[in-house]
Subunit: 412 residues, 4 copies
């Protein structure tokens, strides 16, 4: 019965979120979606901000809630959105991240390198569409930007989409970094549609500036916080080492789902051919990774056990950040010390001296722009419309290089 399926979900951020309609209810109930309950939105960030335990499940529901509000607000401005389109755009945002695995970034850089989460999202949507007898077709079209009402796609995926509005708000809330808080209410009220494109009304320009600044702040304060970088780099290294050992024939303890990916290098093609692979992937969540790492703390491979113990007990590596690449000589010097300290070969020492880089740009001018409708009915890219934000800087990619190594290594 329809009415049984209407439900309300408590959200500390929005109060009550309602589930509009049976299709969406059934999608949320689906095991592919339920598994997002066990995948943290911010991976290891809780090691720095202990409140940051919120899941991709809650984020997807939240983004859907904002989409409902936006559809409501746009309709009040006489933007025509049919109820089919409404359902589709809600489904599209609900499933936008469905392909994420646990610690997504880390996984893709270590043991599941052959296929990325976008590809898996696509596969899952197709599979769900089959299961639900074609009811997701329009949602998929919108998701893939193949629908004439471009703004629907833009609400799902652009530089001012419901994904970003929810995650900035949610990540600020749960980390406690209150400065990242944005006023999604106000931004949504400023949205409008013109020639099928999403635009922001002129008086919304200050809100957009603030949104961009908040996003930038969250990047440096949270997403690229150096201790978080250190933890994630450690995790990548752990998973690489485990895969290497598996490759050498070691039968490491692991949950069956994780084991499968430790022992094999699947490519996108494999996923296309062997449909059961998707189900195996969908069995992975944070618990598989952490439960295995816990066991590896006692592994006989000293490198693996050391790295795992460090991560688990939060003895994270020191990080040094630089705007230029880390000099090779410096890395080698550290590796040499690590080699002595941990009595490992110079090659193995590389597991203790880790380098990587991160990028960030507040706004990317060559992606879908945020368009402001000026008083004269002209559309201007926000980078042009704002007299305060520096256009060049705004869209410049900032790259930071970093090196991590155990705190007990001493330089001098």
């Amino acid at each position: 019965m329809t009415t049984n399926k209407r439900k309300i979900i408590n959200d500390p951020i929005y109060g009550f979120v309602s589930i509009p309609g049976d299709l969406i209810f059934d999608l949320i109930e689906h095991r592919y979606f339920q598994r997002l309950r066990r995948i943290k939105q911010l991976g290891l960030t809780n090691l720095v901000y202990p409140g940051a335990l919120h899941t991709r499940f809650h984020h997807a529901i939240g983004a859907m809630h904002l989409m409902q509000e936006t559809v409501h607000s746009l309709r009040q401005k006489n933007v025509n959105i049919t109820s089919k389109e409404e359902e589709a755009v809600l489904v599209a945002i609900l499933l936008h991240d469905i392909g994420h695995g646990p610690f997504s970034h880390a996984l893709e850089h270590s043991i599941v390198t052959g296929v990325n989460h976008e590809a898996i999202s696509s596969l899952i949507m197709s599979k769900l569409n089959l299961e639900f007898k074609g009811k997701l077709a329009l949602a998929i079209k919108i998701f893939n930007d193949q629908y004439p009402k471009k703004f629907l796609h833009q609400l799902v995926s652009s530089q001012l989409d419901m994904d970003r509005l929810d995650y900035l708000k949610r990540d600020s809330f749960f980390t406690g970094v209150s400065e990242g808080v944005i006023s999604s209410d106000r931004i949504i009220k400023m949205l409008n549609v013109e020639k099928n494109q999403l635009v922001v009304e002129q008086k919304g320009i200050y809100s957009i500036e603030k949104f961009l600044i908040a996003r930038r702040l969250m990047y440096w304060q949270v997403y690229l916080h150096k201790t978080v970088l250190s933890a994630e780099t450690l995790l990548v290294t752990i998973l690489k080492r485990a895969k290497e050992l598996s490759g050498q024939g070691r039968d490491l303890f692991a949950t069956p789902a994780l084991s499968l990916f430790l022992k094999n290098n699947f490519t996108k093609k494999d996923f296309d051919k062997r449909s059961e692979l998707l189900d195996s992937f969908a069995k992975l969540d944070d618990n598989d990774v952490i439960a295995s790492i816990k066991v590896w703390c006692d592994d006989k491979d000293k490198i693996l056990s050391t790295l795992c113990t460090n991560l688990l007990n939060r003895k994270l590596f020191r990080v040094e950040i630089s705007s230029s690449p880390i000099p090779k000589a410096y890395c080698e010097k550290l590796a040499e010390q690590a080699s002595k300290k941990y009595k490992v070969s110079k090659k193995e020492a590389a597991y203790f001296v880790l380098t990587d880089k991160v990028n960030n740009s507040a706004y990317t001018a060559d992606q879908l722009k945020i368009n402001i409708r000026m008083g004269n009915n002209q559309l201007l890219d926000v980078a042009q419309a704002s007299d305060l934000l520096n256009i060049q800087s705004l869209s410049k990619t900032v790259t930071k290089y970093f090196i991590c190594y155990p705190k007990d290594l001493k330089i001098g």
Copy 2:
């Protein structure tokens, strides 16, 4: 160096929490305490309130923060608290829940039945005291109520302690049940000490009434929410079945830490004798339980696999609640149906028709009372001092009986 150890932790509830001093810093860094990062405060409650993912780690830190505020406020009222006592009472509250395992209640009713978390807390504190060369002695005295300044113990453990103040606030915050929110600030400002006992100033009586009502509300709305009961009962049953199968010699997949407790029935005496047991126990966290349950979804034991799949994909049992015990006949009828439906023996059907009961009292008159200091300097139990709250009801234990069974069983 001392100053390196001073740290600030972000808390979405209190803003910034500071770690006062090296001992506390080192305790927080200890692996026994770090493991609390992986144990959710509210177990499976997130299946109903998806934000309720906060950990025992965060709660312990938060309760310590409130203790700092309380010590500060009491000193301003000329209550004498030495810095040694301050450190000790902070340590005591920090460690008050250190013995909790994952899904504590469920575990104690299924696979770790021989020893409870209070006993384990005690063992851990003793062990830490050894490691820290006696520095925890005073904290342990206070914790065990063996210190003359009784109010210090009362701040750690009574019907108005920092534990309750923090967990009500925190659980409300993360579930989004805003009605549970209490004003810890105001309550703390109303506390005072008289003849070494904690008392509440008269004008604080309304705040205390509100605190009791909020606690009661949280009980029925969150802690004893019927879907949460259903999930927890399912978990208990799963763990019991797994233990039973292990007892029958099945070598179920499990993480080593969990496996140990599935295969053995340790008693408190075992823990006393074999000190390595404590370490094994301390390796358990939420990940062990969930990761194992995920694997059991595919177990050949149909009962186990069915129950696990139900829990994992959130196909929870229907719950019926009653103020009197569930009639036996009704249970049997349901068991019969379950037996047919799932093609199991009548004995095995018991795994699908579960009964239990829960208790709650808003305030327990025979425990440590909340004393209000009336205008005439008289001390009155809050149950007497309030003209609104019904004394009998307030301290009456409410018992509710419930039965859970699969939603596809039909009665009639």
Copy 3:
């Protein structure tokens, strides 16, 4: 054009409040309603809680907002509310307090004693109904409980109406007494209608308990705060003295609107006969009272100038509260001292030694009850339905007696 009249009002509590429809827009624009912008909801309470400056204007708008939410929620539960009825019930709540003058309570006990604010509300509604050509007829019917759908009246005026929901929330917010905060969202979601009566669903009982407790807390912490009582008693005395002097022929400075009421004793009949009186009354607001008191600080009447200076510079009288009437002898002793200290006659000394009493009951069983719909479809008064709240106490009127006198009087 219709759309020009749709407007959004910022509210720090609810975010955005929208004005639904032209009639309501025009009523808000009316000078009778605009004057509420200049009448503080909580009179002199800002002398204790400096944030409590919010106006009856903002409260009326807020209560209307909650009514919109309630209508929406009830309709989702298939309660039939036509759009005419919706408009009428919104108008009724919007105007429920339209007859309040500045410092309403004080005014009615001093210079406008012949007519109360309820009577004036009625007169204003009738007058507006004429101006708006009968469009308020249904609203007035609902307001006066003459409409068959009783629940509409109950939403406007009962022990669980939108008035109370908004004022508790608003007063808590602006005073900063966060403990008075109630969850209007949740309470509204618990409301339903049965046989045209408003009922609360059973699971809402804890929210109602909390609402009653919060209201009680606000009474003692804010509405009847002893310094607020002191200030209001001072104001009543000032206005009485000013009226007395006017009666003696003194031409005190006053704004014309205030002057009219200082010099005359109008009765309800006068208001009925002379329609311009209503307009004169509607010209009064907080500014008239305060501006006049400021001038009276320099008045030649020593009593008046002393009292006014005390109020203006916040040299408030000391208050003593008692559960029994203040003994006459005590008053006389104080009056004697005042007589000496301020060199006034014993009769005049009465202006410095003020006694009065206040009442409060958390819930009044003989008024419109709050009905809880129990599981068995039975309706129970909340005082019966709650096992925690003490029925007798809940509905008992608590009376407190108090005496105020200048702080420089000494007893001994």
Copy 4:
């Protein structure tokens, strides 16, 4: 007795604010300070944002609270601040706005043109210093930037002072424009002192960016909101007309305090010579202005009565904003129409067609800069240190011109 004077004030923003010490307590009790209770921080802004009723009193207390937090934080970083200096800097921030009259900006542009609020602040501080026997001397030195520890002055008055931190936070809170909210906690934690100058630590740069953006947003959304401009321009015009009429010998109704300034043109010299003038000025507050305007609604001067009725009943003029000066011809055309419509001379029509301009710059590079301490120990102006904010734009003064005229005038 000292302890009697310690007090706690409720603030909806900060919770509890404590009054540290007798001098500060006595200053707050002083009638000069108490009058700030009757002067709204944001003048007529409540006509647009009805919650914006907070007073200069509450703001001054709030800024003092932030100063306490800052002193505490700086001391923890080993910045030396003696208790004398602490008291002085608290007094300085408490009194920083003491010279403000009601609707300060409007008053200074109409009836009190000979002296500005800064001059009056200075006079009041000197007078208080006499009354308090020199106890304010150090505070005055700091206020006037004559004390070697420059950072103390900078905390009172600079582009990142406690005044701005509090008013941004407070104005956002009470207007409900949540986007203006800044994280004063975090900014305060980022402050440090170097060579007696206030500096911001490098990782605070994102918070400073956000602070500047929030301030800019509040300017356009609140302080320079066009309806607010319209209301304030109307008020200036009303007061000018009243003064003109007074100059022509009309004896307009006004409170004595306001009357004095309507009938005279006092200069700074007058204030210096006649000390009673300061006391007369200190009697002015919002009530004098509004109470008088209410009476003027019925004045026989048609211009005055029309303008006053418009303001009182919120029939505000239409505003048009332009980035270039309003063309003379356009003004004249409107004046002509006003002349016909209101049957006034062309000269008098000028009272209905009002032009003015407003300026705003987010940050002023030639004032006291906000200095960021970079990693290399170099100090950089924030305009240089931020790679995102456009230096030129940041410090460019934006000027907007506007014209206001009655909504019933039609152009065409």
